[in-house]
């Protein structure tokens, strides 16, 4: 009789041990279980949406190609949704203590070694539907499976540009969509930029005050807003600055005009034209040649027999050349050959001949072609716009919006009352026809040769 309670207790312990064992087994099975397949489009969507939904604080390690060497930078990064950011650089020594506090509208950069604070534009650009459209249109997405980053499960996807440019690989956190690790690979030089979190915490209740800049005692404040906020077309810019604005006749596949602005620094006034493919950017700065000299560094090059200078900063490449009394500077991550080819297409100065050629081939008046050029469109984009408008029966402004990515294929299909799949095929056919009509094609911009 005395043994009864002892047996009962033993049974209770056995049951508890079994339960614990089952829980542990289940957890183990869960951890080891392969992640359910998720489309790369869905993973990309998670990564794009994450900043709007998730707060985090972590330590990020950046390794970047800088002037021929790989530099490693460590930064404490805090993000509060939707667009607040605080960056405290920890190493190397010459950036240690640098602080960037960004409230989503403007940013402050504090540099302790000179005790100066710079007020500047925000680094937290809003996610626009146009960027998503261009990204999906111009990059091939591939699922590369799953991986573990700092003990967290992540989906791995690759984004390969259809034109020339850097290839990206992203490790996207399964639970939050945050990019835990990334790599950008240049076909000619291998990995040019990689980032990963060595530590990260989510869903912290970070106070807003942490993302408001407080001026350190005695710091000297400097406002550095060099580019005007208003975005203008090349035609408007030309009227504004009173010097001719050169518009690239052709760019690598997928790049489209994103906007233009006037930039001021001291007495230097430049026109700034930016072209994006949704994942990367090529910037063109144009200023009267007399207002800016040649930099004392870089490699001398020839751009259509014009003197030029090529500066390889590592991740970014800069090409400077002079034509028609203008000093043109192109900045981007595109391969050197591509940048030089794009520059040559500008430098060759066939604007009027190309306008006439497009006008003749597409059977449209030259004035319309010039007007579309004034909106920043390249010649292949103009022929695509004209052919699409003709085939689809859409008006020019709507067609331009579609070509530039501000109107999706689904949106256009909805406007036209047709099924997206039907429209997709029509657009494909029309685009193929347009490429035969264009006097210059993106194919003229060579893809980088292997090993370069």
């Amino acid at each position: 009789m005395m043994l009864q309670p002892v047996r009962a207790r033993a049974r209770v312990w056995q049951a508890l041990a079994l339960a614990v064992g089952l829980v542990l087994l289940a957890a183990g099975v869960n951890l080891a279980a392969p992640l359910p397949p998720v489309s790369p489009e869905r993973v990309l969507g998670m990564a794009l949406e994450a900043p709007r939904l998730i707060d985090y604080e972590g330590t990020k390690v950046i390794t970047v190609l800088r002037n021929g060497r790989m530099e490693t930078v460590t930064v404490a990064e805090s993000h509060k949704r939707p667009n607040m950011l605080r960056l405290e650089y920890l190493s190397p020594e010459d950036v240690a203590g640098r602080l960037i506090v960004d409230n989503g509208t403007s940013a402050w950069h504090y540099e302790p070694r000179v005790n100066m604070a710079f007020e500047e534009p925000t680094l937290q650009g809003a996610l626009l539907s146009r960027d998503q459209t261009l990204l999906r249109r111009n990059y091939t997405l591939t699922a590369l499976g799953t991986d573990e980053v700092i003990g967290r499960q992540a989906y791995v996807i690759a984004l390969d540009p259809k034109g020339a440019g850097v290839h990206r690989q992203l490790w996207v956190d399964r639970a939050t969509g945050t990019v835990l690790r990334s790599e950008e690979r240049d076909p000619s030089r291998g990995v040019v930029l990689s980032t990963y979190f060595s530590r990260i915490s989510f869903s912290l209740n970070q106070p807003e005050a942490f993302f408001q800049f407080r001026m350190p005692a005695g710091a000297h404040a400097v406002t550095l807003r060099t580019t005007e906020a208003e975005s203008m077309s090349p035609a408007d810019l030309e009227r504004r600055v009173r010097f001719p604005v050169l518009i690239p006749p052709v760019l690598p596949e997928g790049y489209t005009f994103r906007g233009g602005a006037v930039s001021h620094f001291g007495s230097l006034t430049s026109v700034y034209l930016r072209y994006s493919d949704g994942g990367n950017l090529i910037s063109f700065f144009e200023a009267p040649a007399g207002s800016i000299g040649w930099p004392a560094f870089g490699r001398p090059v020839r751009v259509e027999a014009q003197p030029g200078r090529f500066i390889d900063l590592g991740y970014f490449r800069v090409l400077i050349w002079e034509q028609r009394g203008l000093r043109v500077t192109a900045v981007g991550t595109t391969p050197t050959e591509t940048l030089i080819t794009v520059a040559s297409q500008i430098a060759v100065g066939r604007e009027q001949a190309l306008v006439r050629a497009v006008s003749r081939r597409a059977e449209i008046d030259p004035g319309t072609v010039r007007r579309l050029r004034g909106e920043g469109l390249t010649f292949p984009e103009i022929t695509r716009t004209l052919v699409l408008a003709q085939v689809l029966g859409t008006d020019l402004p709507t067609t331009v919006r579609f070509v530039k990515g501000t109107l999706t294929l689904r949106g256009l299909a909805q406007q036209m009352g047709v099924r997206p799949e039907v429209l997709r095929q029509t657009v494909r056919d029309a685009t193929a026809r347009a490429s035969t009509l264009s006097p210059v094609t993106p194919a003229a911009v060579p893809a980088p040769s292997p090993g370069r």
């Binding site: 990564a47 970047v64 010459d94 540099e111 000179v114 994006s276 994942g279 000299g293 560094f297 800069v318």
Partner: protein
């Protein structure tokens, strides 16, 4: 004492006029030995100043005469008539004449020298200015790493205010 390109540009005019301290003079000389762009700018500045020095005396602006004439009129009232009519004011007052010529030369020279210094400054900061603007615009690309862009923009900020670039900042 070592100079960066921007600082050297600012000191060229004073260097040409022999107004620098010995250490600064040596530093500018050292920089000119190494920097082709500054040598070219220095030569431009030297030629400009030499050309200005050979200019004939220019006619001072009208406002200048308004200032000069009033005291001259007062003196004329007190001076003997023969002095008053036989010698022009500027001959009787050589200091005024020199001041007038210097004022005109200064008015002409300031924009020219300022233009040269601005051009030098733009040469020095041009690449950094444009890379900085490119970096800010890149922040609107959804997949770009903000911490990296902050690093690039921060480095450029320092160059724009005349600080030397970080180590290995140039090729």
């Amino acid at each position: 004492m070592t100079l960066n390109h921007h600082k050297a540009g600012q000191l060229l005019s004073a260097y040409l006029d022999g107004e620098l301290a010995a250490a600064e003079t040596a530093a500018v000389q050292d920089h000119l030995m190494d920097c082709a762009a500054c040598r070219e700018a220095y030569e431009d500045l030297r030629v400009t100043k030499a050309a200005l020095g050979q200019l004939p005396p220019a006619e001072p602006p009208a406002e200048f005469w308004a200032v000069v004439r009033e005291p001259a009129w007062r003196e004329r009232a007190a001076a003997p008539a023969r002095w008053r009519w036989r010698l022009p004011v500027l001959v009787r007052r050589p200091a005024w004449a020199i001041a007038a010529v210097l004022a005109v030369l200064a008015l002409a020279a300031v924009p020219m020298i300022k233009g040269t210094v601005d051009r030098l400054h733009a040469t020095e900061i041009g690449v950094d200015l444009y890379v900085r603007e490119h970096a800010f615009e890149m922040s609107t690309e959804p997949l770009t790493d903000r911490a990296y862009l902050g690093l690039v923009a921060g480095d450029a900020d320092l160059v724009l205010v005349g600080e030397p670039p970080r180590a290995e900042g140039r090729r």
